[in-house]
């Protein structure tokens, strides 16, 4: 406890979002400036994990005041230190402004993005230095492990987790306590604990943020699980694309070993627990638990039929408990605060919180944690700040490539495992993508299908072939070659994949298309029957014209056109040669006068060749 007491702590988020917007150099600059002014004895600069508000990164928070500065660049650092750390004033220009109202909100806890959030799983993320076990311990870390080992039997622990109602955060929402009980009861003296940190959903990064921002919470949760199921060895299976998460986790494991919180005979209790990291190698299907286990064993990550479930026969054929990162991260708090505390959060059937990577067409993108039971509208409009650029909300997609979408009529739906599933979307592993009128739902479904079918491991026919066939049909539709029978075909293939695939990858691959068909079938019909893409995205069905009334003949489109199919001199109405146009959208974006018209189905009248501005129709 010989650490000096600091007058101010400057927390800089080094989560992926902030890091890629330059947090690293901001930290260097801050440290440099603090030293230059010889403040290092009073002011401490701390690197933290993700704060969630990635759109506003790099984020710097100054405590004790809780001042929230956003989009901080190295060039702001000198003034920030001068104003806030020396003179104690707020530097207005770095303060967050609410979109639309432009109201300035200087303090972290008053920002609307955080107001409706309830940070439980992420409580330490962005608050502590993830590379310091002491900071984790100072926030109550490893208390739960201590309590479990000194006061509770393994049955007590399982009962407590069961009573909390915690459901697995890996997607399916299976009761965690029950799963632990299965593993505990399975015969065998060697058992394993596995953490699924494969996070394959191509729009989600919460598991990564936890591992990067609060790795000890996962380690503690796994050790508690090990004690309750009777296992002394655990594996974290983390995708190799997350090098920082792996590095921090490795460091955290070393620290925990040093402190005697991992290893043999923890706290003199006789219980020992060892943890290893296995890096994934890029295969979505390895998120499926039996495939994941095969991959840890060094094999091709192909799923196998269940039963037997891993709880009975998993890694190396031994009883194995597998949970998601978030499931484990919740456990220490459940033990510390009691099952009733947890059960009181959220809804009775889905207690606790949900974490989403809120992205796409919303003002405030980032990582959010909300109590279960909140509505989608609250998430998208209150936390997300609504749709930018005055555009219309069209759909929200949850659950990634194995999930589904919901239209505006679903906005008042409660977010929990069961209501989302009923409506055709799923909780999934946390991606939440908002799309506006500019997204074509046929193309959007095709995107997910492309992903899922490419990731099919090929072991079972319905998934391998079904996905392919369905993709061919969708490709045809987006290219304007669809036929009215296509929709029935899709539905039939989907039925087969759902009932006959070996694992949930194949069973759920049709999810995004089926939900798009359920809510946006007219868009499919427009493509098939009218050769029209209502969102004006499918390139084979759109054309670009220069509006002869609006064009001022500035020549911008002509200069920027990469294939040079635009004709016209200055002050002449420009003409796009339809045959050569590659529909790259460049002219549409660069025209300063909004004179480019994008059409799908139909055409507008334009002159045959360039004529002087103002002479059209005269």
């Amino acid at each position: 406890m010989s650490e000096p007491i600091y007058r101010a702590n400057v927390l800089v988020c080094t989560g992926t979002g902030c890091d890629s917007s330059g947090a690293g150099s901001v930290i260097d600059a801050l440290r440099g400036e603090v030293e230059r002014r010889e403040l290092q004895g009073e002011v401490r600069v701390i690197e933290t994990g993700c704060r969630g508000f990635c759109a506003m990164g790099p984020i710097v928070i100054v405590y004790p005041e809780g001042l929230f500065y956003c989009q901080v660049q190295t060039t702001d650092v000198e003034e920030l230190v001068e104003e806030t750390l020396v003179k104690g004033r707020i530097l207005q220009r770095l303060v967050f402004e609410v979109p639309h109202s432009q109201q300035a909100v200087p303090f972290y806890d008053e920002i609307p993005f955080y107001e409706k959030q309830q940070r439980i799983t992420l409580r330490n993320c962005g608050v502590i230095d993830p590379e310091s076990i002491d900071e984790y311990i100072a926030r109550g870390g490893y208390e739960a492990l201590g309590k479990v080992l000194s006061e509770m039997s393994s049955e007590d622990v399982i009962e407590e987790v069961k009573a909390s109602g915690l459901r697995g955060r890996g997607g399916a929402g299976f009761l965690t306590g029950l799963k632990w009980e299965f593993t505990a009861r399975a015969p065998g003296d060697v058992k394993y604990v596995v953490c699924n940190a494969d996070e394959g959903d191509p729009g989600a990064f919460m598991d990564r943020s936890i591992l990067e921002g609060d790795p000890h919470s996962v380690i503690e949760g796994m050790a508690i699980c090990g004690y309750s199921v009777g296992s002394s060895e655990g594996y974290v299976y983390c995708r190799a694309e997350y090098p920082l998460a792996i590095k921090r986790l490795r460091l955290a494991i070393e620290q925990a070993e040093e402190y005697g919180l991992l290893g043999d005979d923890i706290f003199g209790s006789g219980f020992g627990f060892h943890l290893k990291i296995k890096e994934g190698a890029g295969a979505f299907v390895c998120g499926e638990e039996t495939a994941l286990i095969a991959s840890i064993e060094g094999k091709r990550g192909e799923p196998r039929p269940r039963p037997p479930f891993p709880a009975v026969s998993g890694l190396w054929g031994k009883p194995t408990n597998n949970n998601n990162v978030k499931s484990y991260a919740n456990v220490p708090q459940i033990i510390r605060n009691g099952a009733e505390w947890f059960a009181a959060i959220g809804t009775p059937r889905s207690p606790g919180t949900a974490i989403f990577a809120l992205t796409g067409k919303v003002e405030n993108t980032g990582l959010i944690e909300v109590p279960m039971g909140i509505t989608l509208r609250e998430i998208i409009y209150d936390i997300g700040g609504g749709i930018p650029d005055g555009k219309e909300f069209k759909a929200v997609q949850t659950g990634g490539p194995l999930g589904g979408c919901l239209p505006a009529s679903g906005l008042d739906l409660q977010v929990d495992f069961d209501s989302l599933r009923q409506a055709g979307a799923v909780m999934g592993s946390g991606g939440m993508i908002v799309v506006d009128e500019e997204t074509c739902m046929v193309e959007f479904s095709k995107y997910f299908l492309t992903f899922a079918s490419a990731e099919s491991c090929g072991k079972c026919v319905p998934c391998r072939v079904g996905g392919r066939r369905m993709l061919e049909i969708l490709t045809r539709i987006t290219e304007g070659e669809g036929t009215p029978e296509d929709i029935d075909q899709i539905k039939e293939i989907a039925k087969g994949m759902d009932s006959d695939s070996l694992c949930a990858l194949g069973q759920l691959t049709p999810g995004p298309i089926m939900s798009a068909l359920r809510y946006f079938e007219d868009e499919f019909h427009a493509h098939i029957n009218e050769d029209r893409c209502p969102a004006k995205q499918c390139v084979n069905m759109i054309s670009y014209y220069v509006s002869p009334e609006t064009c001022v003949g500035c020549g911008m489109c002509k200069r920027e056109c990469p294939v040079q199919v635009i004709d016209g001199e200055r002050r002449m109405i420009h003409i796009i040669n339809q045959d050569g146009c590659i529909k790259c959208n460049t002219c549409f974006e660069v025209c300063p006068f909004d004179a480019i018209v994008k059409l799908s189905g139909g055409e507008i009248e334009v002159p045959e060749e360039p004529i002087p501005v103002g002479s059209f129709g005269k």
């Binding site: 890629s20 989600a204 064993e297 091709r300 993108t365 990634g400 997204t439 959007f444």
Partner: protein, 163 residues
């Protein structure tokens, strides 16, 4: 000229000594094929055929088994890659914000398909899925550097500047 260079590079024999250290380190570990291949790729930038033979000899895993694993996981490359690696994110957030257009732009500019390397080994373009920087969508990683809020023009310029 370009062709000649390629040939010379391809004829280069693979020095297997650094691999022995890796094999030694994983000697007693169960199920170590994946980490061995990962370390191999760290050494050579890809997994050369010679290395697979060598690993097979030392671990007792058949060559077929090793290829089975190496081809299953998208992380492993069996061919040499470019001096510069451009990874365009086509995760969901980047996708709805225009990632496909970035990919087609580069494909046209370089005359290769995503996943391929230019014949002079200058650039490899690949598509990846969500790197957790969705707030910067659409984004790419060029030689380990994250570049965000991309438009076709910008990515095209950045790639042109790669020597």
């Amino acid at each position: 000229m370009v062709l000649e260079e390629t040939k010379i590079m391809n004829d280069e024999t693979v020095d297997l000594t650094p691999l022995d250290e890796v094999l030694e380190a994983f000697r007693d570990e169960r199920g170590a094929i994946i980490p061995i291949l990962q370390r191999t790729q760290e050494i050579y930038g890809y997994v050369p055929a010679e290395a697979i033979q060598h690993i097979s000899k030392h671990t007792g895993n058949s060559v077929a088994q090793l290829y089975g694993v190496a081809t299953f996981y998208s992380q492993f490359y069996l061919e040499r890659r470019g001096r510069h690696i451009v990874s365009i994110c086509d995760g969901t957030a980047c996708h709805v914000k225009g990632a496909p257009r970035l990919v087609t732009t580069l494909e046209e500019q370089l005359g290769i398909k995503a996943g391929e390397t230019t014949p002079d080994y200058r650039v490899t373009v690949e598509v990846v899925y969500c790197l957790g920087s969705c707030a910067l969508a659409p984004m790419a990683v060029i030689d380990g550097q994250v570049v965000g809020r991309l438009v076709p023009d910008k990515v095209s310029k950045l790639v042109r500047e790669l020597e």
